[in-house]
């Protein structure tokens, strides 16, 4: 607890620093300016040795006396204020509540400080990056959007949670899974399987796949939220579990895998504690339809967006391995994408009984 209180004040200090920027600049008759690291593809590099996406050093200046930036600057200060209030009250909240907390009409006008949540969300990310404070440290949480099941015992707020005794539903992964909030008491699994979609996770859980293969099943329902990624990373790091990823065979599936493995472009600064460079891609691979005799008619034609996205992926430095280039190009040349759900075409339990067992036996995965 003592440690927790100390970090909180550190974050609080950082937030108050935003006000100091304004005050000091005003003293010296200078334009108040915040420097914010740029969060885009142009400012990330792939560290080949560590297997991580890292943020570059380039920064943007956000100054108040600039017509284009004045409003954003004002909003940033407002959001910092709201976050600081959270620190002082020692509460956690959601992005949306931050938005509502900061929204009001500007005095003597009909203008709102914020019009939509789309305006405040990036500002929170800006503050995370520029203050080098994690979102959890800022006390902002996301939805509980993940589930976990397997031979695993967790302690959440002092409650013992045995993930092997939670039925089909499993344990809902909270958004903040830092050791202060969630401890891993015991884990006897051999590996961790991260599934993109809830449907397949349910199938595997219902069929007690984890019991037969002694693994932990985890899903993030689409692009996994931070909590899920962080928990996977902790299990990988603390319990030495190899991580396998099962996603749809489309550009978005590939990207989900890459985010788990190397980190995302937008939150590159968090790769250090989120990414799992040793994660393996088990499927669905563009080679699988042939290997597992999936009929062509369960494929979906790639649309223009898919093709454009796939071509973007081909250009990313972290997709330059020969096997990956071949994988993506194979999908492009077939012109089709396959959902995990398509496996049900063969049999409802094809995934549990045939597909995964064979994959694991043949060690047929991409790195």
């Amino acid at each position: 607890m003592a440690q927790k209180a100390r970090t909180a004040t550190a974050v609080e200090k950082k937030l108050i620093g935003v006000a100091d920027v304004v005050i000091h600049a005003a003293e010296r008759r200078k334009d108040p300016t915040l420097t914010i690291p740029i969060r885009s593809l142009s400012n990330v590099t792939f560290n080949d040795r560590k297997g991580l996406i890292e943020m570059g050093k380039r920064k943007q200046a956000r100054s108040f006396f600039n017509v284009g930036m004045a409003k954003k600057f004002m909003q940033t200060v407002l959001v910092a204020d709201a976050l600081c209030e959270l620190q002082r009250a020692n509460l956690t909240t959601s992005l949306r509540e931050i938005y509502y907390r900061s929204k009001h009409t500007i005095k003597n006008s009909h203008e709102n400080t914020l019009d939509t949540q789309d305006e405040s969300d990036p500002l929170i990310e800006d503050l995370e990056v520029s203050l080098e404070a994690l979102r959890e440290e800022l006390h902002v949480r996301a939805e509980n959007a993940g589930s976990i099941v397997g031979p695993l015992v967790l302690v959440d707020d002092g409650d013992r949670v045995d993930c092997a005794r939670l039925g089909k539903g499993g344990y809902s992964v909270p958004s903040i899974v830092e050791p202060e909030y969630l401890q891993i008491r015991q884990c006897t699994a051999d590996f961790l399987l991260l599934v993109e979609k809830g449907t397949q996770w349910n199938r595997l859980s219902e069929d007690k796949f984890w019991r037969r293969y002694n693994c932990v099943l985890l899903t993030g329902n689409g692009q996994p939220p931070r909590g899920v990624r962080r928990l996977a990373r902790r299990l990988h790091e603390e319990k030495r579990l190899p991580v396998y990823v099962l996603v749809d065979n489309d550009p978005w599936g590939y990207y989900i895998y890459s985010v788990i493995k190397q980190g995302s472009i937008n939150l590159a600064f968090e790769s250090q504690r989120m990414a799992i460079p040793k994660a393996k891609f088990v499927g669905l691979s563009s080679a699988d339809p042939e290997a597992y005799e999936l009929p062509r008619n369960v494929g979906i034609k790639l649309n223009d967006k898919d093709v454009a996205r796939a071509k973007e992926l081909l250009g990313y430095t972290w997709f330059q391995k020969k096997s990956w280039q071949a994988e993506i190009k194979r999908m492009l040349s077939s012109g089709l994408k396959y959902e995990l759900d398509a496996l049900a075409n063969k049999d409802f339990q094809f995934l549990t009984k045939k597909y995964l067992p064979r994959k694991l036996k043949e060690q047929d995965w991409l790195d």
């Binding site: 006000a19 005050i23 008759r29 108040p32 004002m74 204020d81 209030e85 005095k107 009909h110 709102n112």
Partner: protein, 648 residues
């Protein structure tokens, strides 16, 4: 109403060809074939003349009577003073008290003018004989063309209510006033006089027509009210009093005290002639020599030019016109096209003029910006014509303030500030007469669609009229307006006409664009300043909260405000903002209305108190200078104004 156009012939086109015996012999058929009187034809086909439904019929009757009144006044050189009176009339069968206007099915229309009056003998045929009139045989610009209008209206009344047309006319204060009640003999197309007498009449001169017709009064699009308003826009020299069936009196003051220049008759212009027409003219001419024919039967062809044309065509100027046919005629036609000929004379046309259009728009439509463009004359099929376009943009300063007041309530998420999604309104005129029906068939409307309004800062979706609070005015003045039908509702599409309209609209658009850009600039300058002032407060308060309320708030605010002032140029911006309405410099024939005042050539109301305060810098009242000179004057004025500002 009789079934429209029942087929006379019993033979069916789809009956099998090989019938053993014709059922009707040629003799029998011949016995049935007889002349159809025009009046009978129109009784059956009244929709051709604009009497398709009761609502439209009411409008058509008013329109025909007003057109005649205005034509007569203008030809006689009298500033028109017209009274339009509509009264609901009880329907004979159900009582004597007239029903309310919205439910009435019968109306009495009374149009009174101060025109020259009509001589006694002419009154019956003018009002009760179709195709009788003064305008058909002339190549001269006027509202009416065929001499159908008013008699058709009378016939419609006769057909639907059985009431005759009542006319009072007086030619001068010394002459007596004549009262007539006439009807039309639909078989013979001849007038029947039911009553005629001399009466006492309060007006010293003029004509009054009273018609009783079946109709329906409903406001809105294509209503009598709209017709009256639009008429006033294009005819600001008219004083019009409109007594609505609801008992209201609407006075439209005269805002322009110059009669339009009297149009003259002309001969066809060579460029507009088609080969077939040329051949016909070659046959019909009274000239003996080809050169004489060219110089005599066309406008803008001098004897010398005639010889040039002959040379270009490889024909002898001495050739007999009647002998020129076949290839020679074709050569002549080509020769004409190859020779440079002056544009046709414009004195046959009487355009409204930029000043008058501005005056009309300004009086009738609330807006922030007005402009008008008169194109130089052009020719289609030998008929000279002039296109004029005008534009009124915005909602006027009063409405702008209203909108401001409504914005007081802050918006919720997803709620968008009320956007001006209303579409522009196109008002069309032919020889000063508003066209209210068949908008989409009209070349004016098509030209509006064709114009890329987005270039001028106005939103426009594909294939639609531009959107925004805007009224687009298009007028075609010509000796012969090519209507798509007899009811004169839409102008036919000729490339020349379309091109001229497009050019006029583009010029209007360019001026509007300049105005909008300027307003936007002033607005953004204002915003730039406002932004900092507004946000400083927010930033200071947030900082104070971050600092747990231990901040010297006033000091920080002061420091920031000083910096804001310095950065936005301080007082210099004030000056700039003060100039934002800076008069329509560089925008000829335009009026700009701002909450502070009105700028540009604002028409002074002539016969009453001014509608809006005159322009602050004493914009000269509209004087009727010739268009060319006027343009020069405007430029000069703008220049001197700019100079004055520099000095100040």
């Amino acid at each position: 109403m009789a079934a429209p156009g029942r087929k006379e012939s019993p033979s069916k086109p789809d009956s099998p060809a090989a019938l053993p015996k014709p059922t009707v012999s040629a003799v029998e058929m011949g016995a049935r074939q007889r002349e159809i009187s025009v009046s009978e034809f129109f009784t059956k086909n009244r929709h051709l003349l604009g009497f398709d439904n009761p609502r439209k019929a009411l409008l058509t009757c008013v329109k025909e009577a007003v057109d005649n009144a205005l034509d007569a006044c203008e030809e006689a050189g009298i500033l028109p003073d017209v009274v339009v009176k509509l009264e609901a009339v009880a329907n004979g069968s159900n009582g004597t008290t007239p029903p309310p206007a919205s439910q009435a099915s019968r109306f009495r229309i009374t149009i009174t003018d101060n025109g020259p009056g009509i001589v006694r003998q002419q009154i019956p045929p003018i009002f009760a004989k179709l195709l009788y009139g003064s305008k058909f045989h002339r190549l001269r610009m006027s509202r009416g063309q065929q001499g159908i209008g008013i008699s058709a209206a009378g016939m419609y009344g006769q057909l639907t209510t059985g009431k005759p047309v009542q006319i009072i006319s007086r030619t001068s204060a010394r002459a007596p006033a004549h009262y007539f009640e006439v009807q039309i003999d639909t078989k013979k197309n001849e007038p029947m006089i039911l009553e005629k007498k001399q009466i006492d009449w309060e007006s010293p001169r003029g004509t009054q027509v009273t018609l009783e017709v079946e109709g329906r009064y409903q406001k809105g699009r294509a209503s009598v009210d709209e017709y009256v308003e639009q008429t006033i826009i294009a005819n600001p020299h008219v004083k019009l009093t409109y007594l609505t069936p609801e008992g209201e009196t609407k006075e439209f003051r005269r805002t322009y005290d110059q009669l339009p220049a009297a149009p003259r008759e002309i001969k066809p212009h060579p460029y507009g002639i088609e080969l077939g027409m040329l051949l016909k003219m070659l046959q019909d001419t009274k000239s003996h020599w080809l050169s004489g024919f060219l110089a005599g039967d066309f406008s803008r062809v001098s004897p010398r030019l005639a010889e040039d044309i002959c040379k270009a065509a490889g024909l002898s100027p001495r050739a007999r016109p009647r002998d020129v046919h076949g290839q020679a005629a074709e050569n002549l036609y080509k020769g004409i096209q190859a020779t440079k000929i002056m544009a046709p004379p414009t004195n046959c046309l009487s355009p409204i003029g930029e000043q008058a259009i501005l005056a009309g728009l300004y009086q009738q439509i609330k807006g922030d910006f007005y402009t008008a463009v008169s194109r130089p004359p052009a020719v289609y099929r030998g008929n000279p014509f002039v296109i004029e376009a005008g534009l009124a943009y915005g909602k006027g300063p009063e409405q702008a303030q209203e909108r401001q007041a409504r914005k007081e309530i802050p918006l919720a998420e997803g709620e968008v500030a009320e956007n001006d999604s209303e579409l522009a309104r196109v008002i069309r005129y032919a020889n000063r007469v508003p066209l209210l029906y068949q908008q989409s068939a009209c070349v004016c409307y098509k030209a509006v669609l064709d114009t890329t309004w987005r270039n001028y800062g106005v939103a426009q979706s594909r294939g639609a009229v531009p959107s925004g609070p805007m009224v687009i005015f298009v007028h075609m003045a010509s000796v012969w307006v090519p209507f798509t039908s007899e009811s004169k509702e839409a102008i036919a599409e000729y490339d020349e006409i379309r091109k001229e309209i497009t050019l006029a609209l583009r010029e209007c658009g360019r001026r509007l664009g300049a105005f909008l850009r300027r307003r936007e600039r002033a607005h953004s300058e204002f915003r730039r300043r406002n932004i900092f002032e507004l946000y400083i407060e927010e930033v200071v308060e947030s900082c104070n909260r971050l600092k747990s309320g231990k901040l010297a708030v006033a000091k920080l605010r002061d420091q920031l405000q000083k910096m804001a002032m310095k950065r936005t140029g301080g007082e210099k911006t004030d000056e700039l903002l003060g100039q934002n309405g800076g008069g329509p410099e560089g925008l000829p024939h335009s009026i700009i209305v701002t909450p502070e005042g009105v700028e540009g050539a604002v028409p002074a109301a002539i016969d009453a108190a001014p509608v809006v305060a005159a322009s602050p810098n004493g914009g000269p009242a509209a004087t009727a200078a010739r268009p060319a000179r006027r343009a020069g004057k405007t430029k000069g004025r703008a220049k001197s104004k700019r100079a004055a500002r520099k000095r100040g």
